[in-house]
Symmetry: C2
């Protein structure tokens, strides 16, 4: 078929209004279905506590999702039914109060409504002059206020802190090498080297991989007993690298490590970065928003001196997934790391292509949903005071869990509890095998979902209290279930192997 012939056939099947759009043929039928879907989700969230935290999808349900691409459409009502029976029961479980795996936020009903509004509006927040950009800027202002950053700080929504930490790596790279690195690449320069603690998140390593610096040049600085980066060791590593002719370009402090919730001594790191003239970035994926709580804010002392911060609104702040953020106190440097001069990104003096700085000047994305809206609704619905109180509450629940573990005859603590993460182990489980079995059993029981992590090389049980729904009394349920699992696992191990 030649190109010019493609549309030359006379049979225009799309001439009628009905066929030429994907809007509903009958808006009122659609409306009724949509409302049914909304009610289903409201009931689901209201009754979350009555269900299992998690259950595996049966093989026949999984098989439904291995079908060929559908050629014909199905009514929305039928699809909602499939969603209800084959998806809703087999979710991650992080909406449930007894989900404590990894660091997952629980979401809120308000966040769900906001996301629906955003999807209807369907804004592309890469740039242009429309209100979604103003809302995103307002969130940046709020964060600058909360972090005691300059009002002119630049900020941008991304998927999550993995991407925000990648952006930090790139802006820090521009800081030391200039914009020229964008054109010339890394072979034309000295070898960059950066620093983070042994407890820092693996996405820092990934940022070094993706950016071409190489993860071998991310120095993993040892931590003290509280899992905080050792300042003296950091200084020594920098001195050694400088002596070897390398170019130290970024120190990444952790505000809430993924394993134990530890917060580096940010003020100390800030001092070192000033003395050494190195970019100070803080990976505050879940911990940075602790500034909203007057009780927690002192733990984050020094954050206000960071050059940039990565954080996630979908963790402690309960905004629905995903809503990561990067904020930078040097807007010009930030912009010079990403801004492009492509014709279709050029700015007009007026009209839809007006405005000066677009979000696509501040990060890798050009197509971007309206993440600011669900974040805006979250702040506006609850206010910073209640949000801060919610963060403090998760820490209080963690303290309660800590106390229960201290009293337990079966378990012992594996790390200090700084914030909201409690790591513990079966006493005497030197290999961590019993811990792993307990966690899998708990998942399959549907009662509670902690995760495992490794501390000192040994798998331990980790409970991250991130969900706003988690109550003090849930910790009694959790520990009792964990102790029952432990007894069962240990009995099985002690039992003679069946002939």
């Amino acid at each position: 078929m030649t190109r010019s012939a493609v549309f030359d056939h006379p049979n225009d099947a799309f001439a009628t209004e009905r066929d030429t759009s994907l809007d509903p043929q009958d808006w009122e039928v659609f409306r009724a279905d949509a409302h049914r879907g909304l009610d289903m989700m409201i009931d689901y969230l209201r009754d979350v506590r009555d269900r299992k935290v998690w259950q595996p999808a049966p093989a026949e349900v999984r098989a439904e999702f291995k079908a060929p691409m559908p050629q014909q459409g199905k009514p929305l009502g039928e699809l909602l039914k499939t969603f209800e029976t084959s998806m809703l029961p087999y979710a991650t479980g992080n909406t449930h109060p007894l989900f404590m795996g990894w660091v997952h936020g629980g979401g809120t009903p308000v966040g769900m409504v906001a996301e629906m509004l955003a999807a209807g509006l369907n804004s592309n927040c890469g740039g242009r002059d429309h209100i979604a950009i103003d809302v995103e800027r307002e969130i940046t202002l709020w964060l600058a206020e909360a972090f005691d950053f300059p009002r002119e700080s630049s900020g941008v929504f991304v998927t999550g802190s993995s991407m925000a930490n990648m952006i930090a790596t790139l802006v820090a790279r521009t800081d030391i090498l200039g914009e020229q690195v964008r054109t010339d690449g890394l072979r034309a320069t000295g070898q960059l080297v950066g620093y983070a603690s042994t407890e820092a998140h693996a996405c820092i390593e990934r940022a070094f991989e993706m950016s071409g610096v190489g993860s071998a040049f991310l120095r993993r600085i040892p931590v003290n007993r509280k899992h905080e980066m050792d300042g003296a060791a950091l200084r020594a590593a920098i001195a050694e690298d400088r002596a070897a002719g390398l170019l130290p370009f970024v120190v990444v402090g952790s505000a809430g490590t993924v394993n134990t919730g530890a917060i580096d001594d940010l003020a100390r790191l800030a001092d070192i970065c000033v003395e050494e003239d190195i970019w100070f970035h803080v990976d505050g994926a879940f911990g940075a928003l602790g500034v909203l709580s007057p009780e927690l804010k002192p733990l984050l002392n020094g954050l206000e001196r960071a050059d940039s911060v990565a954080l996630d609104f979908h963790k402690w702040l309960q905004v629905p997934y995903d809503a990561g953020f990067f904020i930078c106190r040097h807007p010009d440097l930030h912009r010079r790391t990403f801004m492009s001069t492509a014709a279709y990104l050029s700015r007009a003096p007026r009209g839809l292509a007006a405005a000066d700085i677009w979000p696509c000047d501040l990060g890798p994305d050009l197509s971007r949903g309206f993440r600011a809206l669900k974040t805006w609704f979250t702040f506006q619905s609850f206010g910073a005071e209640q949000l801060g109180a919610t963060l403090a509450q998760t820490c209080r629940v963690a303290r309660h869990l800590e106390a229960l573990i201290r009293r337990s005859t079966v378990f012992e603590l594996s790390a200090d509890v700084t914030l909201n993460i409690v790591c513990f182990s079966v006493k005497g489980d030197t290999t961590g095998r019993v811990n792993r079995e307990i966690v899998m059993d708990l998942h399959e029981s549907g009662v509670a979902a902690p995760s495992t992590t490794k501390i000192g090389g040994r798998p331990v049980i980790r409970a991250a209290i991130v969900n706003h729904r988690t109550q003090m009394r849930d910790m009694e349920t959790f520990v009792a279930a964990a102790e029952a699992c432990a007894a069962r696992v240990m009995a099985e191990r002690a039992a003679p192997v069946a002939p």
Copy 2:
């Protein structure tokens, strides 16, 4: 305040059930508000044609979004009212049938419902064993089917093609240099070099910047009259680079360029890549899904031979923002580019941490919303046939616009119309200044929103027909409005300057 003292005060303000969650205090009050919000959005989408495409937000509305962080919460009903009066009227406008700026999808009411479900479910799709991961895998299967890729191809949702093209750059980097590049970085290797046409999207350049290769090492290959990459010039560039000791590692074909919708001769590029043993990536941001239309599929001949493809479901397929995708025919190489061994990402034999490949093994994100759901609902609601017909319809509307421009006494075409993008200019506007004025006037009129781009260095008017709502008859409205603007602009230019 010492760390241990933080939670030791006796006044526990969070002991009551009411205060310890962000769920509604009264679910029925919340339910009523949520349904009102849904109705507002359904009416908004139903009546989209009756409104202006776009209007600038007045200064007093913008000022509302410069307030300090709210300390106290507000009722949802009040926030919905603010959304209705201060946000809805000032959106990007891409839901409107006469929005033709850049390449923006229009979204669908079904997509909005699906996004609401996803936000309520609040799955983190970075990994673990839950149904959202199965749904994402099913979309990968469907794409593999549509592209004639192997069934075992790997795929991952990302924000958009900017990120998908970045992933392609990284996987191609692994292909030539091995996994070692993740650790060692780019200074330890030869200089990589890649190829794309002069019409390829700027995000390819950005991928070269971010990955440390350097944009100077993205060769911009000239195009023919149809804006397709010149194969002979590509061969010559590769030969020259090899002779200079550089390492050619990726050729990026464009399937639907942003300026004119041109599609490179993908079969030719595939041949060259096989001969030269270079990774063949296709940036099919909006064009790749043309395979769903039997009429358009022949234009994409050769796509089935690509090593990887980047695409956006939020453009031609009308999935709400954002929903980009990367698919790769070499799953092992793809995984080896991203997989991490961090303890908290380790896999368990059973329970929530089971399953073999997680999406975080295939891309940079660990926190990821459930983008697959809105995509799944879109395919299931309409079926591939109707979706393909919708794509073809946008091309037919573009052909109609082309015909109107050919008949116009004011305008002339600036480029061939391959797919759904029509570039045109006021006759004799050698500087493009009149074109730019017309576009800004059209935006401010609210009647239609095309954009500008540069062709041969001159700003021209560009209409990208991407929205499923755009009808044949809208083109008459558009051209008449554009002609009226042209007459006004030219009259103003001809008039003597006021004293």
